[in-house]
């Protein structure tokens, strides 16, 4: 029975590798290219039509069709229901449709993806009634709300808070689950629920009043960052070594940028246009991508059946990501010429990370096959 289960999960992993991962990579590459152009980086003349869509749809590609698909795959693998893969399949396809110019169809398909993803999370809650699963469901609902507003062609000031909320609530839920290993101080849960209630209220208010909504949104991000810095296990696991410490470093750096983004979100809402890039990218690159870099070494083996050999090299793209983000964000105050340099560094960090993952997969294979061979040699030795 177990053998059968493993066979099934290997077939599933092959399907993910062949169908979903390419879609994820297209969204990522196009989204990053679009982001570079927005930041003023001159790319080799690409006159293709898809490229214009990549620039226009940077946020949609990065949040909905890249992150949304990755998170959808992750959750589908966890619930072990083949139908759950409908969500990432739809969001992955939505990215391709968007780049092909079918903008409206892509938006509708993303809405369908979010609806399917909500259903998957209802199943998760039914299986385990807990605060963190309820929060995962809330994250899915935030994505649905954002995609609904996107279909309705609402202003981005109304859509973006919901989209980010999808990522923020999903990450908060996963961290909340981990904080159960820490002794919880009196009132800690209530403090978190208060912050998250404020966060959801902020999303809703942003649709009517970006000024007040943005202020609340920023305050909720700062509140969440403080809560995570105080209660997350990362403060403990950073004293471990190897992969555990690396993951903790990714988390703690992410919480730092989460707080910075919150402050910038407040400033932007009050008219400080120079803070807008910080509000958006301290959150997306500093917080969300830092989580991606931290968790890829454990998630990739689970979803794609690729084993990685962890090593110090993982710190190189991480340092590049955070260093180039700092350059990018201070450029708005010191020298705008640095903006493109910082953004190019952000993209380079992602490329370096991909290269590190590939190298560590090869390193694992080299070690595994070598030890398997020497094991065989030992076994056949007289």
């Amino acid at each position: 029975m177990h053998g059968h289960g493993h066979f099934e999960s290997r077939t599933k992993a092959a399907a993910i590798r062949l169908v979903l991962i390419p879609a994820v990579l297209v969204s990522l590459l196009a989204g990053v290219a679009g982001g570079l152009v927005r930041a003023g980086v001159t790319l080799p003349a690409v006159s293709a039509e898809w490229f214009d869509h990549a620039v226009l749809g940077h946020a949609f590609l990065m949040i909905c069709t890249f992150m949304g698909t990755v998170i959808g795959i992750e959750r589908a693998v966890a619930v072990k229901e083949p139908l759950a893969f409908a969500a990432p399949l739809a969001s992955g396809l939505a990215g391709l449709l968007y780049l092909a110019g079918a903008l409206h169809a892509a938006a509708w398909l993303a809405l369908a993806a979010a609806a399917a993803f909500v259903a998957v999370n209802v199943l998760v809650v039914a299986r385990q009634r807990a605060a963190h699963t309820a929060l995962l469901l809330m994250g899915a609902l935030a994505w649905l709300a954002g995609n609904g507003l996107f279909v309705a062609d609402t202003a981005s000031s109304a859509v973006i808070p919901w989209w980010f909320s999808f990522l923020v609530l999903t990450i908060a839920a996963e961290r909340l689950e981990m904080t159960r290993l820490m002794r919880r101080r009196q009132g800690a849960s209530q403090a978190l629920y208060g912050v998250l209630a404020m966060h959801l209220l902020a999303c809703a208010v942003s649709s009517v009043s970006p000024r007040w909504g943005g202020l609340l949104y920023g305050a909720s991000l700062v509140g969440l960052a403080v809560w995570l810095l105080r209660f997350d296990i990362a403060r403990r696991t950073v004293s471990a070594h190897g992969l555990s410490r690396y993951m903790a470093v990714c988390l703690l750096l992410g919480y730092f940028w989460l707080a910075i983004s919150g402050v910038a979100w407040c400033l932007t809402s009050q008219g400080a246009a120079a803070a807008r890039d910080t509000a958006l990218h301290a959150l997306s690159l500093g917080f969300v991508f830092s989580m991606v870099l931290g968790h890829a070494p454990v998630i990739l083996p689970a979803i794609a059946r690729v084993k990685l050999l962890f090593g110090w090299a993982f710190y190189v793209p991480l340092a590049m990501l955070h260093g180039s983000l700092a350059v990018r964000l201070v450029s708005h105050w010191l020298n705008l010429d640095w903006l493109a340099t910082g953004a190019a560094g952000n993209a380079l960090a992602i490329a370096l990370f991909a290269a590190t993952v590939a190298a560590s997969a090869l390193a694992w294979r080299a070690r595994y096959f070598t030890s398997a061979r020497s094991h065989d040699d030992a076994a056949t030795a007289p």
Binding site: H2, M178, I233, T237, A302, I303
Partner: protein, 114 residues
């Protein structure tokens, strides 16, 4: 981390000779996210060993954890290394009773600052 020499945090049924090797095998499975072994986190609910079967009851802290299959496989791999050839390794995932921090070992609690 070295293997704990204190009483295992889970019920064990079976030959005493297998008890140590099983404990050590389970202690080799580490959840990198929390930097602790599955035994210290309290994910092992019980072990029973007969001549033909090594049965482990295992839980996870979350039903939404995509890494579950990998951890189960790692437990199987570690146990297969210590089990006699005729013994079938059977790792069963259970959700009842739900995991709580009460199940953490004293060492795990110390690491997390309790």
């Amino acid at each position: 981390m070295t293997a704990a020499k204190t009483t295992p945090a889970y019920p064990y049924e079976g030959p005493q000779a297998m008890r140590g090797p099983v404990e050590e095998a389970l202690q080799r499975v580490v959840d990198p996210e929390v930097a602790m072994t599955i035994v210290d986190v309290g994910l092992v609910y019980g072990v029973s060993v007969t001549d033909e079967r090594l049965h482990v009851l295992l839980t996870m802290t979350s039903a939404a954890c995509p890494v579950t299959d990998l951890i189960v496989e790692e437990v199987e791999t570690e146990l297969e290394r210590i089990a006699p050839p005729a013994m079938r390794v059977d790792v069963e995932l259970v959700w009842e009773p739900a995991w709580s921090s009460d199940r953490m070992s004293p060492r795990a609690k110390a690491f997390m600052g309790w």
